[in-house]
Symmetry: C2
Subunit: 407 residues, 2 copies
């Protein structure tokens, strides 16, 4: 039987492509001697294995009848309580908070709530391909806004929104990773955050703030989120919805995150959750509630920071020592990525094959731009997963390759 | 700020209603002395708490670096191996199987793969409101087909498909719960399964087979699934996609199920999973793989059957003893529900309020029909959650109420 399922696909299903980045990761995985800066994985040394093993045992032994039963689609009320304490928003009403299956899941429900095919989402360029793929799968048209060293440029955002508004285009929201952005590692300072919010408010465009790396700050000072700033400085508690994740803290295998925003957004998101997953894993939620409740989260995050800071420093130092003139890179205050810019004439798609030959891997910058708007002289480097010796050796290989390329 | 988020909702988001059944469950929960046959919950006594507590501890202690890391969107290869053994399909290619976050999640990805707004799904009437709500949220139009004691009637299915095909309506698939159906408790015998498959093949309509209760058989003989029959008897290994769940076996708090079907369906389903949840919980998957691998699943299921069979029998026996003439009910060979039919003139929506007064709860049958096609003289009774003494007492209260209603 050769039934033609393709003819039955929705237009969005038919248009979905295989992720090129996933293919890159497959090519580099398991190759002996390969040093990979390509992925975006946490270091397994950051996983609190012993504590989690104990907590899972305790939670199931003590509350198994409860946590093995069906749970609320909006999430476990005990995890909500713990989270509100951890995030220092004890006043937050429960109906402005939902637990999600990682932050991707929160973004997905936000999309389902607002995005019909051909609706517009305004985002950073370069941007995070994981989110962009989900947005495009829902039929959204992505409009990228140019960045500078402080993230999205407010003047360019203003121009973009002005043009879109004039043509009555269906702009649904603005998507931002304001801290340690993926792929660039850039962060908005306080003034930039204010400018972006002012612009969004001027055009009355909701903001989806993606903050997966916020707790991983290795230097500089903590700045309020857009979600907090909108409320506290602009008196607007409906503008911003924030999504965060436990993937970079407890481990991505747990699949846990949360979304906080106006009830008018969280309520339909919960309805979408009912229909697509029923609820997040209830045991995992209760374990995470206990992890926070026992006061383990802050010291654990401190340990991760002490694990990642020397990795970032080793990569920055080796780049400084070995990269030839004319190459620049971001110096992120946190997160997992450094963004390297080569001279315009270098094509990093092509350089990728040479790099694999030298046993060092990265993601070519072109992967972070939409078709037709690609730039080819950048690369993304991950420093959270490889060890420090690997980082030094890998940057040495990459620097030697870059020297050959530009000479 | 009174931003009008409602204006930004998609048409599907705007149309989503609150689940009436969830409201019923809220009304009945925690009321002292209330006996509820309304829910669809497993008995917590069926949860293998001690084993799960041990396995979670072991899996995290021994393989934490692996199971806390990002996992494959199609599911853990070790769970796939264990499942293929358990389901006795060791030959099944990995790309015809995906792990899902419960069976609701498998149904949701199948919907996303095939359903655009106004596409048609043909289903049983009465049907399972959880699935129907998800289908309607994706914009599907639901066409219900009448049932008899053996489930969906093939003659009525044939008529329905003939009419739809003549009008070139976009029929995407046929959705069935062929065993211990929710809400009716009815099961298709082998001849019925063959007839339904023959009809689907005649019109070349794919089948989505939902089998959440299959392992919970208390009497009668096990019959091949539609998924197996299509392959073995009709030589068609692409017609049927099956979804199953661990919710009724290990506990719904775990959020784990799977889907098996043609690669042309499973592959896009996995792409949707990437975009909406990344993957199921990796620890839970590995724990379940070990649970099966250690040979614990079959004896555990035997224990659940021994727990639920006396409950079913107690409910059937008490109904026989106490219900007045003119009332009929299904005698399910498995699952969690009995379907009671009262005389036409009785309205069970109205009777529900009286029953709450008598401290016994059920779901009125009207909740299982689409608007405009409702029948009002039926009720769904759950026997998996209440204890045996509660079952006897609750049916006594219900019978007394029915006697008063029909006299």
């Amino acid at each position: 039987m050769l039934r033609s399922y393709e003819k039955l696909y929705t237009p969005q299903t038919a248009a979905m492509e295989h992720s090129f980045i996933r293919q890159i990761l497959k090519v580099t995985r398991g190759v002996p001697g390969m040093i990979s800066f390509a992925g975006g994985l946490p270091d397994p040394a950051s996983f609190p294995k012993e504590t989690l093993a104990r907590l899972f045992h305790e939670v199931i032994s003590e509350t198994g009848d409860d946590v093995l039963q069906y749970g609320a689609s909006e999430g476990d009320v005990k995890l909500k309580e713990a989270l509100k304490n951890f995030e220092e928003v004890p006043w937050l009403p429960d109906d402005q908070l939902m637990i999600t299956i990682g932050s991707t899941n929160g973004i997905y429900y936000y999309l389902r709530t607002l995005i019909s095919p051909d609706d517009i989402i305004v985002c950073e360029s370069p941007g995070f391909p994981g989110s962009i793929a989900a947005m495009q799968a829902c039929g959204a048209r992505m409009i990228g806004v140019e960045m500078d060293e402080l993230g999205m440029r407010p003047d360019r955002l203003d121009e973009t929104l002005r043009d879109l508004t004039r043509s009555s285009a269906p702009v649904k929201f603005l998507y931002l990773i304001p801290e340690f952005q993926n792929p660039s590692g850039r962060s908005m300072d306080l003034a930039r955050r204010r400018e972006i919010l002012r612009t969004a408010l001027r055009y009355d465009i909701p903001v989806l703030e993606d903050q997966p790396y916020r707790e991983l700050r290795y230097s500089g000072v903590r700045i309020p989120t857009l979600w907090e700033l909108a409320r506290v400085e602009f008196g607007d508690d409906e503008l911003v919805t924030i999504v965060k994740s436990f993937s970079k803290i407890l481990g991505p295998g747990l699949r846990l995150g949360f979304a906080a925003g106006p009830e008018k957004i969280i309520e339909p998101m919960v309805k979408w959750a009912q229909k697509s997953t029923v609820s997040p894993d209830c045991i995992t939620q209760r374990v995470t509630a206990r992890f926070i409740g026992e006061g383990l989260m802050h010291p654990h995050i401190e340990r991760i920071i002490e694990l990642y800071r020397p990795k970032r420093d080793a990569m920055l130092e080796t780049l400084s020592l070995l990269m030839p003139p004319g190459i620049s890179w971001t110096e992120p205050e946190g997160g997992m990525f450094i963004w390297l810019t080569l001279p315009e004439e270098i094509n990093t798609d092509r350089m990728f094959d040479l790099a694999i030959g030298e046993k060092v891997a990265f993601i070519p910058g072109s992967q972070f731009y939409p078709a037709g708007k690609k730039r080819y002289n950048e690369i993304r480097l991950n420093f959270s997963y490889p060890g420090i010796a690997e980082i030094r050796e890998g940057i040495e290989r990459l620097s030697a390759l870059v020297r050959r390329e530009i000479s």
